[in-house]
């Protein structure tokens, strides 16, 4: 089997999806594609079923929060892999923090279920169509999304801490 190259995959993607592909990049040699939110399910489905690319494995779903990019604060990131081709690809979907809605992939990959719950748990990204979108790792009573940048990493309930030992 001929080796799959980033150029080949991005050309195929542009041919098929055109305007839904917003940009491509290759950090550290890994093809990273920014996709229109409305097309993410069809892109993932297409990559999964493509006879040559055959990216049949959804490795991970995660999120990022960059408050300095207005309208694109939150981002859902998908990693897919083709084991027969030893090829990996990354997809990104930017959404505004005021309406962080992304379609769920649970219909395509059952494994997306927990990964989407985790991303929701930490970033509050709503996966539309998810059968059971609730917290998975944090306590149920938590009332914020801890990896959003406005929330401090440190635990607020700690009373024994003296700032002067931390250079503050």
């Amino acid at each position: 089997m001929a080796e799959i190259t980033n150029t080949y995959v991005s050309e195929e993607l542009y041919k098929k999806f055109g305007d839904a592909i917003l940009s491509t990049d290759e950090p550290y040699g890994m093809l990273t594609v920014v996709v229109e939110v409305s097309s993410i399910t069809s892109v993932v489905d297409w990559l999964k079923k493509h006879p040559v690319i055959n990216a049949h494995f959804l490795t991970d779903i995660c999120g990022t929060h960059f408050p300095q990019i207005p309208g694109k604060e939150l981002c859902a990131i998908y990693h897919m892999q083709s084991m027969p081709n030893n090829y990996r690809i990354r997809l990104k979907c930017f959404v505004p923090i005021t309406k962080p809605e992304v379609p769920s992939l649970t219909g395509l990959f059952p494994s997306a279920n927990w990964m989407e719950r985790e991303t929701y748990d930490y970033y509050g990204i709503q996966f539309i169509g998810h059968p059971n979108l609730q917290r998975i790792l944090n306590v149920d009573e938590m009332d914020y999304f801890p990896l959003r940048k406005e929330f401090p990493l440190e635990d607020g309930s700690r009373t024994d801490k003296d700032d002067k030992y931390f250079g503050r």
């Binding site: 790792l137 944090n138 306590v139 938590m142 801890p146 929330f151 990493l153 440190e154 635990d155 309930s157 700690r158 024994d160 801490k161």
Partner: protein, 181 residues
């Protein structure tokens, strides 16, 4: 090969030819202190140190604790060794509630005692936020010798506390502050 056999020290009392009298409290304390059944609640790296403590080099069995109890209902001592995530807090509390009186708790390591290096939203900042603790063992992780020392402190407590302490008002108020009846 001559073997040195050590036996527990005799409590203070009245001795004469053919009899020895001491208080019931002291006799029971002596028995309890040398037959503590620990329940290891080991969640992370400190748990590994606890395994070493149980192993032949350090041998917790020398203190009458070779019988590790994995059922809280039969355990006397809860050894909490490791990071307790907030999600684990209710589980830990439930285990404590299932233990019968008299019960003691030893908190092994910085994480169990104060959250340790994990000053973060997901980690309980010390198990004393959910259950009362008798002895804290500092260290990240503490050496088995330190855990043994903590264990001996528990033995001292067990030997010396009044049998009625657990009925005392003070004790009830302390448990009440944790919402435990």
């Amino acid at each position: 090969m001559s073997k040195e056999i050590t036996i527990a020290e005799m409590p203070a009392g009245l001795e004469g030819p053919g009899f020895f009298a001491t208080s019931l409290e002291k006799a029971i304390g002596l028995a309890r202190a040398n037959s503590i059944w620990p329940l290891p609640f080991a969640t992370s790296c400190c748990g590994i140190e606890f395994m070493a403590t149980m192993g032949s080099n350090y041998d917790l069995a020398r203190f009458g604790s070779e019988r590790i109890s994995f059922s809280p209902r039969q355990a006397d001592l809860l050894i909490v060794a490791g990071t307790i995530a907030k999600k684990m807090g209710p589980v830990l509390r439930q285990v404590y509630l299932q233990m019968a009186e008299p019960r003691w708790v030893i908190s092994v390591g910085a994480c169990a005692s104060s959250g340790g290096i994990f000053d973060t939203y997901s980690v309980l900042q010390g198990i004393d936020k959910v259950i009362p603790v008798d002895v804290y063992v500092p260290g990240c992780p503490p050496r088995p010798e330190q855990i043994l020392d903590g264990f001996m402190q528990i033995q001292e407590l067990v030997k010396n506390e009044s049998l009625r302490r657990r009925n005392s008002n003070e004790y009830k108020v302390m448990l009440g502050s944790y919402g435990i009846q």
